[in-house]
Symmetry: C3
Amino acid sequence: MYYTIKVTTPKRIAFVDITKKVEEIVNKSEIDSGICCLYVPHTTCGITINENYDPSVINDINNTLNRLVPSNNFYTHTEGNADAHIKTSLINSFAVIFFENKKLILGTWQGIFLCEFDGPRERKIYLKLIAA
Amino acid sequence: MYYTIKVTTPKRIAFVDITKKVEEIVNKSEIDSGICCLYVPHTTCGITINENYDPSVINDINNTLNRLVPSNNFYTHTEGNADAHIKTSLINSFAVIFFENKKLILGTWQGIFLCEFDGPRERKIYLKLIAA
Amino acid sequence: MYYTIKVTTPKRIAFVDITKKVEEIVNKSEIDSGICCLYVPHTTCGITINENYDPSVINDINNTLNRLVPSNNFYTHTEGNADAHIKTSLINSFAVIFFENKKLILGTWQGIFLCEFDGPRERKIYLKLIAA
């Protein structure tokens, strides 16, 4: 069994904070402690963990990805979203975080972000909990 | 216990689709559902999940990695494969994917790739399944 | 339950080999075989697996990250460590490795590194073991 988190992304490139949605599932689960595995079943969006207090951090991550992987037309993939595929492999499609007593064990400043690189779209994140 | 997938990579830089090899192990396992952990025990090749339908996607990922991390001679590591080590840390050495009823839960366009950055070589990917 | 590894990082940017600290915990655990999940609860340092034999490899990874994500002042985050946040998302905040018979299953040249991007600081790595 796995859970599905649904996210509507607002524009082509956007990081959406899904921490509360993950936390809700962990809070209600019958498993007290363990690992929470997150998986993104898309090839043009990823997942990352970073600061969710000051939004300028996410802004800088995005600007840097845009600088390193511009959305130009020199790619061989002709659907216009090659940059989104490349960023996905740089950022990652999955994450593993810990929970104890039905609460996520994140650092003070950490949040979990779905990284949309080719939106706006309806996106899904799969979630499995394993006792440990 | 862990499984070992063996891959012969064809040239210095090549992404090899290992999805079917992973799927075969998952199909035959006694575990119905859970997470499939993949681990690459090499320091000059990695693993990523991305589109395996149009090969131009992988081509663009590779070209971008080559642009960002060229195989020049300005590195301090003198074995001529510093670029391969660097790309490995950018791409990652492990992956965690889900399976249900002995089938991988991948997105429509997703495949699993061994990313060879210093081939051609004989490479191994370790695999463990955990019920969940 | 989870373990905590503590690391004092020596300067602003430094990769610290934590392989032995991870190995010690795995050696003493009651679980014989499984996966070892590592999690970094910070947003300006990450974790990676790469060669720990010739230190020039880590030197080249660091130089390349500094070239791709310079510590300039053109970022919107005004705390002077935007580069550290960006590198953390490129490198990753967690790792999953295997162990068998209370020993880590690493490749010959592989070590596990805490990647400090905004030190010197006291850092923590959380660790959970799951039988498999």
